[in-house]
Amino acid sequence: MVFPGSNCEHDVVHALQLLGADAEIVWHRETDLAGIDAVVLPGGFAHGDALRTGAIARFSPVMETVKAMAESGAPVLGICNGFQILCEAGLLSGALIANRDLAFICRMVEVEVIDTNTVLTAAATVGQRLRIPLNSYEGNWVDPSETGRHVIRYTDDPNGSQHQAAAVANSAGNVVGIMPHPERATEALLGSEDGRVLLEGFLGSVSANV
C-alpha cells in the first residue's frame, strides 16, 4: 500500500522479493485487492504526518478493503508509519506519540521476541534477540486501554514506548504493527540479516492462510 508521502515501499518490495515473495505496490486510491493474500503498510510520512501520523491515511479508499481483509484473517503488517496508520484505523489498539527524548532516532536497536503467535513472529522463537534498524520520531506507543498485545520488545528503552513495545498485534495475531524496519535487516552487506526471520514468518503465514 502506498500513500502520498510513504517512502519505504520500494525497500519492502525489494526485501520481500529477496525472500522469494511476489510483491507489488498498490496506490492508496485502489479499492480492488482481488488476488492479494496479504498486505504490508510501509514506513514513511503519509500526508506529511499532518495532524497526527496516520490520521489522514486511514481514510484512503484502500483502507476499507484492508479492514475487510484484516477481519477475514488475512495477514496485515504495518511497519513504522504503517504501524501508526493501523492504530489510527483502529485495527490495533493504542497510538504512537513522539519519542521520549523528542528526537528522531535512526540506529540499530536490539529487540526480543516475546510472543510467537502472530503472523510476524511465527517463525521466531520466544526470547530470540534480533538487531533491526529503528527509524522514527513518533515511535512511542501508548495504550491506556491495556488491550494491545505487545509481541516484540526493545531490550533497551530507546523511545519510552509502553512495555518497551516494539511490535504490537491484535488478539487474532493476523494484524501486526512493528516500529523498527525488518526490511532494512535482510542483507549482510547492509549490516544485519535478523529481519529475515520475521519477514519469512510473515510470508509463511501468508501461504498458510491461503
Binding site: 502520498p4 508521502g5 510513504s6 517512502n7 519505504c8 520500494h10 525497500d11 525489494h14 526485501a15 514513511g44 510520512f45 500526508h47 506529511g48 504526518d49 499532518a50 528526537a103 528522531f104 532516532i105 535512526c106 540506529r107 534498524p133 527509524n135 520520531y137 524496519h181 526490511e183 532494512r184 542483507e187 552487506l189 547492509l190
Partner: protein, 729 residues
C-alpha cells in the same frame, strides 16, 4: 521614490541600471526592474565569481553535463547516469535555523531531480561557533532538526557530512548540503524551454509572498503602501509537497512527457522563464494571472520575485499537456499552464491583462554584469607563516588525545546523524561515522562513494595549499572504500568579495582545487558560491567545501570499515611520515594557536597512496582502512579502537608523528597472514608501509622516546561519544 532610488534600494548599482537602460532603450517597468534586480544579484548572476569559476577543469569523457545546468551529470556506465550538486543556505539558517536548513535541503533536491534523476542521498556540511555560546547551540540544534525534518519526511536519506565548530562562524553559520541522484540515460532532462510552441506548466505549491523583501521597495514605491508589512521574512518548507513533486516529475520523465524542466529557486519565476528560454535561444509569453497563488492581491513584481518553495516549471509539447496535467492530478499536486514558448528572443509577461514586461530573455542571464574585483594578498599572511609554535617540549600525550577526542569538531557526530534517516533505499553499505560513504547501485555491481570535506583553518593559512589538500583528502576518503574519484562539486563559502584579500583567498582556493583536480583527472561538474559571510566586518575563514564522487566497480564484497578491528590484527601506517602541525587540531585545540604554513600536497605521492588504498580496499585484506586527518595518527587510531571496541599498542619515533596532519596518510588493520602480501602491494605502489603495532586489549598504549602513554579505551570511548551531547545538555 524616483526610479534611481528604487533600483538602488533593490541592490542595483547606478552603472548596472545604466546598462539596463541601454538594453531596453527606455525606462524599465516596475516588473522589469524587479526581474533584473534579482537575476543580476550576486546570488543568481555570480557576477563577482564567474570569471574565476571558468578556471575549474570541467571536462572529462564521462561528463555528460558540466557546470551551467542545475546539476552536473556523469556517466556511470551500463546506461546509468549520476547527477550531483551542492548548495549553501547560510544566511537563511542564521535567521531561522530549522526552516533555513529545511528549505536548503528542498532546494538542492530540486536541482537534482530537475535533471531527471531520482535523488538517492544527501550529505550536510555544517559549521557553527563554539557550543559554549547558547545561540550557537540553538543554531546547531535547529539546523540538524531542520535537515532531519525535511530530509527524513521527503524520503531521501542523509548518509554523511561534516560538522565543524570555530569562533569565526559564530555570527555566520555555514549550512551546505550536497545531493546525489541517479537515472537511466533516457531520463536525462535539461533546463531548456524547447521549441517555439512548447507550453510552460507550473507545478507544485501555490505562489505566496515568500522571500521577496526587495519587492516591498517596488510595491511601496509604485503600488499599495502597507503591503510591505505583509511579507514573511522566512520561508517554510513542505517536504510532503516536495515528495509528491519528485514522484510526479519522475513519472513525467519516465513517460517522456517533457522537453525541459527548470526548478524555481532564487529569483523564482523570473529565473524559471528567462533561463530556459535563453538556453533554448527562444522567447516566451507568460500569463501571471494563470499562476496559482497562496495569497490574494499579489503584484507582478511579487509574483516574479517570489521564492516560494516546492515549485517546478515543465516545458511540454502542446499535445502532451493533457497527459502532464493528469500525472500531476494523480500525485495530488497543482499544475497550471502559465506560458508558451515563442520564436524570437523576447520574454513577454502579462498580468491583469496588461503587459508588465517585454525584454530580451537572454539579457537577464547572459548580459548580467561581471566583475573582476581587485585582488591582493593579505599583508598579515607572511607574518602568520612566521608565527610558528615551538614543539621542543613533549606534551602529556594521553591527556592530549583525550582533549582532542573531546573537541566537538573531532568527536563523534552521532548526536546529529542519529536524527537523520541514513538507511532508506537499502543502499547504505558504509554509512556515517567512517570516512567516505559507500552506496551500492542496485541492479548493478557498482558502488558509489562520496566524501565531503572543508578545512577553514588550512585555507586561511594557505588558501592554495588548503584547496589542494581538500581535494586530496576527499579523494583518499573515497579511495579507502574502494572507489575511484570521478567528479567533484564545490561550495565556496567566503567573506566580502569587495575586499581584495577575500578575492585573493577566493582565487587561490580555486587555483588549489583546480590543480588537484587536474592532477587526478577529476572534473568539477558543479557547485555554488556564497559570499558576504561576515559579521561586523570580520570575514569567516575562507571555507571551500568539496564533494567528491567516486565509483567502485565491482563494489568490494567486504569494504574496509572503521569499526572492524579485532584483537588479532596488526596496525599498519601507509604514506610518508612527514611532520606538519601548522593549522592542526593539536595546535588549535591544545594551544589556541593558528599560524605557520601548512605543507603542500605532493601529487605523485597522493596518486600512489590513492592507488594503494583502492587496491587494498578491493583486496579484502584490510578489514580496517582509515585516512589520517583532523587530530593526526593518534586520533585516527583512537577512532578505530573506539568504533571497534578494542584497544591497541603502538610505537612511534617522535611524539609529533602522533598529531601531524600531513596529507596522504592512512592506517590499516591487517591480519598477520596478509601482512606480507600487503607490504609487497605497498612496495609496488611505491608507498612507505610501516608496522606500528597491534590491536587488542582494553587500552590504547603508545610508546614514544619520551616514554609510555596509556589511555583506557573506556575513557576514550565515553569522551568521544559524550563530547557533543554533553555540551548540548
Amino acid at each position: 521614490m524616483s526610479e534611481e532610488a528604487v533600483h538602488r534600494a533593490l541592490g542595483m548599482t547606478d552603472a548596472e541600471y545604466d546598462s539596463l537602460l541601454a538594453i531596453l532603450g527606455r525606462d524599465p517597468r516596475p516588473a522589469e526592474l524587479a526581474m533584473y534586480s534579482v537575476m543580476w544579484s550576486e546570488h543568481c548572476s555570480y557576477k563577482s565569481s564567474r570569471n574565476h569559476l571558468s578556471r575549474f577543469p570541467s571536462e572529462a569523457p564521462w561528463v555528460v553535463v558540466g557546470p551551467g545546468e542545475n546539476a552536473g551529470v556523469v556517466d556511470l556506465g551500463d546506461g546509468w547516469l549520476a547527477a550531483l550538486r551542492i548548495e549553501s543556505h547560510n544566511h537563511p539558517s542564521f535567521v531561522e535555523p530549522y526552516q533555513g536548513a529545511a528549505t536548503g535541503v528542498g532546494g538542492i533536491l530540486r536541482d537534482v531531480f530537475t535533471m531527471g534523476a531520482r535523488p538517492i542521498a544527501l550529505w550536510d556540511q555544517i559549521r557553527f561557533g563554539p557550543l559554549d555560546i547558547p545561540k550557537n547551540r540553538y543554531l546547531f540544534a535547529g539546523v540538524v532538526a531542520g535537515i532531519a525534518g525535511y530530509g527524513n519526511a521527503v524520503g531521501v536519506p542523509t548518509v554523511g557530512g561534516e560538522i565543524a565548530f570555530d569562533p569565526c562562524y559564530s555570527g555566520n553559520p555555514l549550512v551546505n548540503v550536497m545531493c546525489l541522484g541517479v537515472m537511466k540515460r533516457e531520463q536525462l532532462v535539461l533546463g531548456t524551454a524547447g521549441e517555439a510552441g512548447s507550453i510552460a506548466v507550473l507545478l507544485g505549491k501555490p505562489t505566496g509572498r515568500d522571500g521577496i523583501g526587495g519587492a516591498s521597495v517596488l510595491a511601496s514605491a509604485s503600488f499599495d503602501e502597507e503591503s510591505g508589512t505583509k511579507r514573511p521574512s522566512v520561508q517554510v518548507g513542505d517536504p510532503f509537497e516536495e515528495k509528491k513533486l519528485i514522484e510526479a516529475c519522475l513519472e513525467l520523465y519516465e513517460k517522456g512527457l517533457v522537453v525541459g524542466v527548470q526548478d524555481l529557486g532564487a529569483a523564482g519565476l523570473s529565473c524559471a522563464t528567462s533561463e530556459p528560454a535563453a538556453r533554448a535561444g527562444m522567447g516566451m509569453d507568460v500569463d501571471l494571472d494563470a499562476v496559482h497563488v497562496r495569497e490574494s492581491g499579489m503584484t507582478a513584481p511579487e509574483l516574479l520575485m517570489s521564492e516560494s518553495q516546492e515549485r517546478m516549471m515543465a516545458f511540454v509539447a502542446p499535445e502532451q499537456v493533457e497527459a502532464v496535467l493528469s500525472v500531476a492530478e494523480r500525485w495530488e499536486i497543482d499544475a497550471r499552464v502559465v506560458g508558451k514558448v515563442t520564436s524570437g528572443d523576447i520574454l513577454r509577461i502579462r498580468h491583469d491583462g496588461e503587459l508588465v514586461a517585454e525584454v530580451p530573455a537572454a539579457s537577464l542571464t547572459e548580459s548580467a554584469p561581471r566583475y573582476d574585483r581587485p585582488i591582493s594578498q593579505p599583508e598579515w599572511l607572511e607574518e602568520t607563516w612566521n608565527n610558528v609554535l615551538d614543539h621542543s617540549e613533549a606534551p602529556d600525550v594521553a591527556l592530549t588525545i583525550l582533549r582532542l577526542l573531546d573537541d566537538p569538531s573531532i568527536a563523534s557526530a552521532e548526536w546529529a546523524y542519529q536524527q537523520y534517516d541514513h538507511m532508506l533505499f537499502l543502499n547504505t553499505v558504509v554509512g556515517p561515522g567512517g570516512d567516505g560513504t559507500l552506496l551500492r547501485l542496485k541492479g548493478t555491481d557498482k558502488g558509489l562513494a562520496v566524501s565531503t570535506d572543508g578545512n577553514g583553518r588550512l585555507c586561511l593559512l594557505d588558501p592554495f595549499r588548503g584547496g589542494e589538500r581538500l581535494v586530496y583528502e576527499a579523494a583518499l576518503n573515497v579511495a579507502v572504500t574502494g572507489a575511484n574519484p570521478m567528479a567533484l562539486v564545490d561550495n565556496l563559502n567566503f567573506g566580502n568579495p569587495e575586499k581584495p584579500e577575500v578575492m585573493w583567498q577566493f582565487r587561490q582556493c580555486i587555483e588549489g582545487i583546480s590543480a588537484a583536480c587536474e592532477h587526478l583527472g577529476v572534473p568539477v561538474v558543479g557547485g555554488n558560491v556564497s559570499f558576504y559571510n561576515e559579521t561586523d566586518g570580520i570575514d569567516i575563514h575562507p571555507t571551500p567545501v568539496v564533494g567528491l564522487l567516486g565509483k567502485a566497480e565491482p563494489i568490494p564484497l567486504r569494504p574496509p570499515r572503521i569499526d572492524a578491528a579485532t584483537d588479532d590484527m596488526e596496525l599498519w601506517l601507509f604514506g610518508p611520515d612527514v611532520i606538519d602541525l601548522a593549522g592542526s587540531s593539536f595546535e588549535w585545540v591544545l594551544h589556541g594557536h593558528l599560524g605557520g604554513r601548512p605543507t603542500a600536497a605532493d601529487p605523485s605521492v597522493a596518486s600512489a597512496v590513492l592507488d594503494l588504498a583502492i587496491r587494498l580496499a578491493g583486496s579484502g585484506m584490510t578489514p580496517v582502512l582509515h585516512d589520517i586527518s583532523d587530530g593526526g595518527l593518534a586520533v585516527a587510531v583512537a577512532e578505530v579502537c573506539i568504533r571497534s571496541g578494542v584497544g591497541a599498542e603502538l610505537e612511534v619515533s617522535d611524539w609529533r608523528d602522533l598529531f601531524s596532519e600531513a596529507p596522504h596518510r592512512m592506517i590499516a588493520g591487517v591480519l598477520p597472514a596478509n601482512a606480507e602480501s600487503i607490504q609487497s602491494l605497498a612496495q609496488d605502489a611505491g608507498v612507505t608501509a610501516t608496522k606500528l603495532g597491534t590491536f587488542g586489549g582494553e587500552h590504547i598504549e603508545i610508546r614514544t622516546p619520551d616514554g609510555e602513554h596509556v589511555v583506557a579505551l573506556a575513557t576514550a570511548t565515553s569522551t568521544y561519544h559524550d563530547a557533543i551531547p554533553r555540551r548540548m545538555g
